[in-house]
């Protein structure tokens, strides 16, 4: 059933890119960025998933005796996803903080108004 995960994550990434590329509101741009992030997180966590797999906790003796012949879920992508979620939260916090200050300074969060640096 992992195929649905992959379809969903591609959809999420494309949706996020769409939001980033078309929306004029800076808040929506940032929402787009976080949607991309969620899509990528889903992709990473799906790479380690095994349908019906067990928890990856074993005794050393289990492994040596070959008791656990069944699949287990790969723990590495889960660790990666956690890290990536934390980073995504940082991106959100920081960009929202900047947007708040831009609103104070420019009086607007429309991309057409926030363009003093150009050319």
């Amino acid at each position: 059933m992992t195929i649905f995960n992959y379809i969903a994550c591609i959809l999420l990434i494309v949706l996020g890119l769409y939001a980033v590329c078309t929306q004029k509101n800076l808040l929506k741009t940032i929402i787009g960025l976080s949607i991309i992030d969620y899509g990528v997180n889903l992709l990473i966590v799906s790479t380690g998933f095994n349908d019906g797999g067990s928890v990856p906790i074993y005794q050393m003796s289990d492994l040596l005796n070959g008791v656990s012949a069944q699949f287990f879920v790969d723990p590495v992508p889960q660790a990666l996803t956690l890290t990536s979620i934390v980073i995504g939260a940082c991106v959100n916090a920081m960009s929202l903080a900047i947007v708040v200050m831009i609103k104070k300074k420019y009086g607007s969060i429309n991309v057409d108004d926030v363009r003093r640096l150009r050319g």
């Binding site: 990434i13 890119l17 980033v20 590329c21 078309t22 929306q23 004029k24 800076l26 741009t29 940032i30 960025l33 991309i36 992030d37 990528v40 992709l43 990473i44 790479t47 790969d74 590495v76 992508p77 990666l80 890290t83 990536s84 980073i87 940082c90 991106v91 920081m94 960009s95 900047i98 947007v99 200050m101 831009i102 300074k105 420019y106 991309v111 057409d112 926030v114 363009r115 003093r116 640096l117 150009r118 050319g119």
Partner: protein, 637 residues
């Protein structure tokens, strides 16, 4: 003992950042002492690695927590330092050490300096980690720390006009780039179930599947965003222009190089795709466009630091082009130019910072002028940097640019491909245009008439002049002794970029590469080529004559009267022997005015592209990434 140095260097930097946040937020002396000691100690640790890695040609591998590979599978996080990574780490730590010294003078009197130094040291630590790590996901983490601290430092002086805007654009575009890199990493993990670069290099040697091909394209695009090649370059120009000058120096000298390093690591070692002709063509094409767009935009700028920022883009284009040629000579020129660019562009940004600091924040080229009488030391340093970036002998820019021309020309001669001749000529023309734009800055800022407002400007304080003189001396020394530096310092890095087998064997155990069937890439190793300047001169003259004939033959408004705004008539009259205006100052935007007039259509298009809307910039990133992906799927399967 020595194998602990890489990880100690990275940890030391983060520890210093932590200590400053605790002890240094109130007291300036404590803060400066902590940052100076940390940078010096870490620089010592990094320089101590020169002996075993560059001189003896070794590779240092270090497994975090001693989690060594089990049954040929890397489980833990590994640090692996080869000469390529070490050269970039040395570039980084040198730039940061000098920039830190300059910060003491430049940032004096700003608020929240404790946070400034914390972020500054986090930026340094992340770049060192990025250059030294042997783990793909760790590389991504370091890139993210780098982006955050760079963004925060860009907008550090929030009152400055445009600082927040530049920080936001930088953050949005770099997050897109990070998203591409992370997607690439996830796809690689999906295919190979490992994140160790050495193991990946041995697994990906048997050709690319569609999954890894997509991952490759996304990773290259992601690191392209980090190195700010055209069309990903737009936030860089904004960020460098508004950041505090010591930050501009490290952003342009080190952060862009980190992106280039990521690309080299990815293409040369991990995917080993550099011997493919299509790969060389796409990378050199991006590089050539980057150099040309960067320099042509620089010619049209009115702001001192923004102009320098566009030159950074152009010089990074040189490095990418040289690395993309896929020859040992080209990579030597590229890495040498990366080092030289840090030196001379750092010097130029520091000189710009001195002008900005002493005139009270003026960077508009039309409002400056005649400062050489008031700031002689800054002027001398600036002229050193300008000569180096324009590639005048005996400065370092000449040596590395010459290597790049030679590499591109040799490539053209070897392959018989006309395309590489165009690359060579582009590189030359860009160098000429660089010189032109530095003549413009020198005239607009340091020579000419001193304006009324700047009558009382003083020379910069000694703490700011010392770093500038260090950099100026390094520019001259690396230019004079280019041969030992290229042969003994840069060439080992090139060898390690090509010698994949050794990289894998040190990390994964002896014989691992041979068991996986990995061989070294067929990169032509010709260092001394049959290089004849005469042939080249003839070629250049021919091209010039052809261009001249084309221009003469085309319908033009030559000889027609140019409309001059009556308001500005006096300003232009000293081009036509007007006497009353002899002592008026020729402002920055009046220089090269005819050139800008002739290329009006081009500049109109460029202005449209650099619209300042973050949405447009994101569109450019997405379209360029799509082009890279499509190109790879069409030509590299």
């Amino acid at each position: 003992m020595i194998q602990h140095f890489p990880v100690l260097a990275v940890m030391g930097m983060f520890l210093g950042a932590f200590l400053i946040e605790i002890f240094g937020s109130k007291n300036a002396a404590v803060r400066n002492a902590i940052s100076f000691i940390t940078f010096t100690v870490v620089a010592g640790l990094v320089y101590a690695l020169v002996k075993p890695i560059i001189i003896d040609g070794g590779v240092i591998a270090y497994w975090m927590g001693n989690w060594e590979p089990v049954a040929g599978y890397a489980i833990g996080i590994g640090y692996e330092v080869d000469a390529l990574g070490l050269v970039f780490a040395i570039i980084a730590i040198t730039a940061f050490w000098i920039s830190n010294l300059y910060s003491f003078g430049y940032m004096k009197g700003e608020h929240h300096l404790g946070h400034y130094y914390t972020l500054f040291m986090m930026l340094c630590g992340s770049i060192l980690g990025f250059c030294m790590t042997g783990d793909l996901f760790n590389m991504y983490i370091m890139v993210e720390i780098m982006t955050f601290s760079a963004v925060a430092l860009t907008g550090f002086i929030t009152e400055k006009d445009g600082a927040l805007e530049a920080a936001l654009k930088y953050l949005v575009l770099c997050s897109l780039g990070s998203g591409f890199i992370l997607t690439g990493i996830a796809l690689i993990y999906l295919q190979c179930h490992t994140l160790n670069i050495a193991q990946l290099a041995s697994m990906l040697s048997g050709g690319l599947t569609p999954t890894t091909l997509l991952a490759f394209a996304l990773t290259v695009a992601g690191f392209g965003v980090k190195s700010f090649m055209v069309p990903f370059h737009t936030p860089l120009a904004d960020a460098h222009a508004v950041a505090p000058s010591p930050i501009s120096m490290v952003l342009s000298g080190v952060v862009t190089k980190a992106g280039v390093y990521g690309m080299i690591r990815c293409i040369y070692i991990m995917f080993r795709a550099m011997d493919l002709t299509q790969m060389q063509i796409i990378i050199t094409a991006f590089g050539a466009v980057t150099m040309f767009v960067g320099v042509s935009m620089a010619l049209a700028q009115h702001d001192f630091k923004r102009l320098l920022a566009f030159h950074s883009i152009s010089q990074v284009g040189y490095i990418i082009t040289a690395a993309g040629l896929g020859t040992a000579l080209g990579l030597t020129g590229g890495i040498f130019h990366a080092m030289n660019h840090m030196l001379f562009k750092g010097l130029l940004f520091l000189a710009a910072g001195a002008v900005l600091h002493q005139t009270g924040g003026v960077t508009n080229l039309d409002k400056l002028g005649g400062l050489s009488k008031r700031m002689p030391h800054t002027t001398v340093c600036f002229l050193f940097g300008a000569a180096a970036i324009s590639g005048l002998p005996p400065f370092n820019g000449f040596a590395s640019k010459w290597l790049i021309y030679q590499a591109a020309y040799t490539k053209a001669a070897e392959t018989g491909n006309f395309y590489y001749l165009i690359i060579t000529i582009t590189a030359l023309v860009v160098s000429v245009m660089t010189l032109a734009s530095f003549v413009k800055i020198a005239q607009a800022v340091f020579f000419g008439q001193l304006s009324e407002e700047n009558k009382d400007v003083k020379e910069a304080p000694a703490i700011m002049l010392v770093p500038m003189y260090i950099l100026a001396a390094l520019c001259l020394l690396t230019g004079i002794f280019y041969r030992p530096i290229a042969a003994d310092f840069i060439l080992p890095a090139v060898r390690s970029a090509v010698d994949v087998v050794k990289y894998i064997d040190v990390m994964m155990g002896e014989g691992y590469a041979a068991a996986a069937g990995v061989y070294n890439m067929a990169v032509s190793n010709v260092m001394v080529s049959s290089w004849s300047p005469i042939v080249y001169l003839i070629l250049f003259v021919t091209v010039f004559i052809a261009a001249f004939i084309v221009i003469l033959g085309s319908k033009s408004d030559r000889g027609a009267t140019v409309e001059v705004d009556p308001k500005n008539a006096m300003k232009h009259s000293n081009f036509f022997s007007g006497e009353e205006a002899v002592y008026s100052h020729v402002g920055g935007s009046d220089m090269l005015w005819g050139y800008k007039y002739d290329f009006k259509p081009y500049y109109r298009v460029m202005e449209e592209l650099h619209s300042g809307r973050v949405t447009d910039y994101c569109n450019m990133v997405v379209i360029a990434t799509a082009i890279i992906v499509v190109f790879m799927f069409m030509f590299m399967r």
